[in-house]
Symmetry: D2
Subunit: 366 residues, 4 copies
Amino acid sequence: MNTRTGNWLAVLLVAAIVTAPALAAEVRYEAHFPDLPGYVTLKCDLHMHTVFSDGLVWPTVRVAEMWRQGFDAMAITDHIEYQPHKKEVPTQHNRPYELAKGAAEAHNLLLIRGTEITRDTPPGHFNALFLGDVAPLDTADFVEAVRQANVQGAFVFWNHQGWKGPEKGRWQDVHTTLFENKWFQGMEICNDDDYYPEAHRLCMEKNFTMLCNSDIHEPDLRKKSSSEDHRNMNLVFAKDRTPEAIKEALFARRTVVWFKDQLIGRKEYLEPLFQRCVEVVPPRVWPGKTQRNAWIELRNVCQADIQLERPGEWRPEKLVLPARSTTLVRVPITPGAKRVELKYTAKNFLIAPDTPLEVTLVIAKP
Amino acid sequence: MNTRTGNWLAVLLVAAIVTAPALAAEVRYEAHFPDLPGYVTLKCDLHMHTVFSDGLVWPTVRVAEMWRQGFDAMAITDHIEYQPHKKEVPTQHNRPYELAKGAAEAHNLLLIRGTEITRDTPPGHFNALFLGDVAPLDTADFVEAVRQANVQGAFVFWNHQGWKGPEKGRWQDVHTTLFENKWFQGMEICNDDDYYPEAHRLCMEKNFTMLCNSDIHEPDLRKKSSSEDHRNMNLVFAKDRTPEAIKEALFARRTVVWFKDQLIGRKEYLEPLFQRCVEVVPPRVWPGKTQRNAWIELRNVCQADIQLERPGEWRPEKLVLPARSTTLVRVPITPGAKRVELKYTAKNFLIAPDTPLEVTLVIAKP
Amino acid sequence: MNTRTGNWLAVLLVAAIVTAPALAAEVRYEAHFPDLPGYVTLKCDLHMHTVFSDGLVWPTVRVAEMWRQGFDAMAITDHIEYQPHKKEVPTQHNRPYELAKGAAEAHNLLLIRGTEITRDTPPGHFNALFLGDVAPLDTADFVEAVRQANVQGAFVFWNHQGWKGPEKGRWQDVHTTLFENKWFQGMEICNDDDYYPEAHRLCMEKNFTMLCNSDIHEPDLRKKSSSEDHRNMNLVFAKDRTPEAIKEALFARRTVVWFKDQLIGRKEYLEPLFQRCVEVVPPRVWPGKTQRNAWIELRNVCQADIQLERPGEWRPEKLVLPARSTTLVRVPITPGAKRVELKYTAKNFLIAPDTPLEVTLVIAKP
Amino acid sequence: MNTRTGNWLAVLLVAAIVTAPALAAEVRYEAHFPDLPGYVTLKCDLHMHTVFSDGLVWPTVRVAEMWRQGFDAMAITDHIEYQPHKKEVPTQHNRPYELAKGAAEAHNLLLIRGTEITRDTPPGHFNALFLGDVAPLDTADFVEAVRQANVQGAFVFWNHQGWKGPEKGRWQDVHTTLFENKWFQGMEICNDDDYYPEAHRLCMEKNFTMLCNSDIHEPDLRKKSSSEDHRNMNLVFAKDRTPEAIKEALFARRTVVWFKDQLIGRKEYLEPLFQRCVEVVPPRVWPGKTQRNAWIELRNVCQADIQLERPGEWRPEKLVLPARSTTLVRVPITPGAKRVELKYTAKNFLIAPDTPLEVTLVIAKP
């Protein structure tokens, strides 16, 4: 019987007065991505919904989802204007944040107050994060709503550009207005199941922060994060593990996104990320002077599978390093060499649309 | 972007006026249990919660859960008295049923209107199903609430007996009052993670219907039903696939429950269920006159693993027939026999507390 | 302790004289593919190795692998010429078949005697099946070895064309010689992890039987067959479940192959296979005169996921029907229509290189 | 086509002369168990078979199995006397070791030369490890065979005591003879699917080393090691990662065994193992003076699930810490306390037959 454990937040609040029930246990599996020099790598989903707009779960459910899947930070961003449950759940823009706050603290998750400004296309939907109060954004004029967010110092980004409408996410005058006022700073290059190459291109051209969020409405059924099945994730390279540091990192564009089997971002972050994800273990016994091959171990310490490829004699050599494992590979070496450099293409590390990262694996005699 | 698909019910209602979005697809895996002679076997969960009491999901989420896990029928049974979300979701006792109705129809699920009468222990919590209107049960007096349910012709059962309180589910005068008026007809012998042997014993002694429900409050993360991980399930042996037939079957006590790795029920239903679950395939070539062993195939066509055991020479012979598979086993035979009967104990078919079903496998020369 | 059960064949043979040990149980999961009109669909792997050439397992292991993964028929095809274990396992060309025979009978699997004629490229490797004796094929001249196979009435096919060598599987004079003598009848269009489009093209041009085999050397770790992970499989449409019927079907080119997530074959077999794999369940309540959408169920009864696609308004509509499940989809309909035909491309049903099958789903008012 | 990659050892040997084929990749998942102070924890299986006795795989297959499942060390121990494949694989007692040696080096696995002395019961089967030459043990007299092993300085243990025969593993005069000569030093308390409580008791009474091996004959289908499904494993606490250190540790009885969901061993090793497996993370915000509960995180860093239990008010509190995860639990605390000690029984850490380890979790104000 879990009447009480079902609503664990209530449990927390009344804990002092009830006699102790059986243990309520939740399990978290980390989503491993290495830190970069000078930064901690924080895993964030910054776009999701609850019953307070058109989502189908209570705000505390989102906290439990984030925690068990290894995230560090989250923003609930219910629609301001689209409120289909209004008859059952009267509009309260700040309530999802308030309801989730205690749960987030118990789970040691960073909770960011946010919202989604939901207008038709164009101009489309925009998220505003790090707000102090959502209510002032509930205004008829779209540009005014975005301005209000900026007045509060919010980080604002364009959601799922290219999603719908006959204009298919084409840049319009209204976007120029926002851009020239510096009223939005990022774009979702991925949302739900979709990747938007035009958004990716715009992020590089106009120097926007790249984002990738779940925009989830239903319950998330996942228990862990894996390359085969994980929630959209932003890796944010922050100076420390605080909401303020996430805000600073987002404005400074220090993100890589994990979308399906791909890691996408600026080369300056993807390159060191790859280097810290893959460890090359040289042969235990260094090959003799006539050997043309050697066995090496490649350790992938991160949560994403890594796909490598290089030209082969008969066909391209394809190599997958599964997440959190060691792969034993036989590689060609120059007989007698003390150091071998192997050039690969990291097929699923994307530094621009259709442009994978080139990497070098160094095998050095110990 | 799934703003609209997130709330699929809304989609359904406005389908005629919006342009077609991408396909919204949901997947169902059947939970296979054979029909019994004269009856269809309907898979039911008759106790669950939503945000309209202390649950954490929208009513349509429960429909999606039931459908994808292979159920046929369901009842949402929010608490009448325990309404911790009242400030955000004002009390509307019939609203969960109304909101789930359209979704249930689209999914071809049978939806039963129900509720949970939630009083302290004793007397504990009771569910009432097949109501026309929940509101009249919202009354201060417990016995009066149960009487009101009976006035509407409801099927009423005692939930999670033995759950809590110093009396630990002991039978009280109030239960005698209900019993003598025939105002409750069943008991949960299993609820959530717990099995209540005393409830099991009472069902046999007082001729109650045995039930086993999820009582779920959180989202259900399961995609399929398996012996390792499935939602509590009542197998109801009904005359046809309608709510009325389920009601008739519940009053007639025609149930077997699936709890963890066990099937529990009256022998008169467990025995034919076992016979229809396990098919014995005799050897392709019947053993010669001197052979003392033969290879046979045992096909388990149901969704539950089946555990068999019989005395062995050195140690008991244990045999698991995994769900939906064929097991090849070598069995001892009498040399020259044309028919062999092997007696097993079906360890996980429980006809009474601590009492497994005894079965005979017949291997007959084709 | 499984000294004896380890070698289950030995168990079988000595069963009459030992006292009964605990049950030795093996589990089979069917690989479901529907029969075609007039034919049973037999699942076959016709190319695999054991310690008797360069494989790493005992012949009975191959039988256990086939059985548990839902196959019907198999051929062990050890290399005649390549015998790297000769020092430990002296050459005995017919021994793998003999050792596997009893196990195949106990498992009710059809075992076909075969071998691999292993020459350098060109001409490459060829398999010969349905032999009475492998020994006569152990001869220095390649063409003579193939002729000897034909003398025994064998079905002969070219393995993994395009695999290696500077000629990369190019058709040579020696192939013309065999072809003009009708000394080989099929080609592997898939082998291990590779698909050979040139072999596929040649099968269509020269009317060869299409094949797809595992060519496995290591132990097969798979317990079941699924779209995500299965052993290469030939679906052979045979008149009955006998080796003779398989032979007749292979000569008559009645095959479809299951390679990774694709089903590949001649349109005359792929089309009826699709029709029998997918069942369309019309809406329970037929849509009213103004409705432009309806919910239908698509049941995929086969072991392979099925990928459908059709043009959409904003983007192509992609739909995956997972194996052995039911998918609920909302489809557009003409208001008032009594019958709707939806045209899809079955992306993973390949009737020629790069050419998927076009299909029509018919939704008819019951 | 994997003719060559199939037999990867051959590849290794001829690597210098063939042109480079595609990469042959194998994947390893570590089996995480922490080191103990002063010792490295080495994961070992010391009893397994190949085609050189009654096993069903080539010796190199055993190396690949060990590597991918996260083991450090292994011994192939084919039967000296039981050679059912002799007709196909003539007896060569040292050949399995020789064939596996190169593969073990490439995989950085420690390979120990061993064998199984296989007599009827009594006295049963015994393994001898760290031999220089198996041949001298091939002698008719059982005691002489064991003596020969000791002449070579072998570590000798009694396998699967209690396995079969009417005496069911009862201690006999012959065991006294060996014991008084100090000719055997350990016993398998687990073998294959069986646990032998009498062997466990004898290990404690007579100060034997406790062992737990697979005794596998078939191919091992496992890809990873988990509580749900792993190969029997000895954790050997060695001074360094060498065969010599393993030998020293075995003679010194420094083992804990992992059998199904249990860790079994001497208290002096199980206790520090538990302490290093479970990390207690205190609440981020220490509870106020009136709070009677706190949320803490329990991190289980090892590969085995850990089962905890302590008395509860209504029922025992049961808690499972899944392998390699963090569990969030609410625990009772004394209001105002700066340090809380919670006493649990670690149900699956067994220090004697039927005797679980008692542990204390300390929650200290940071």
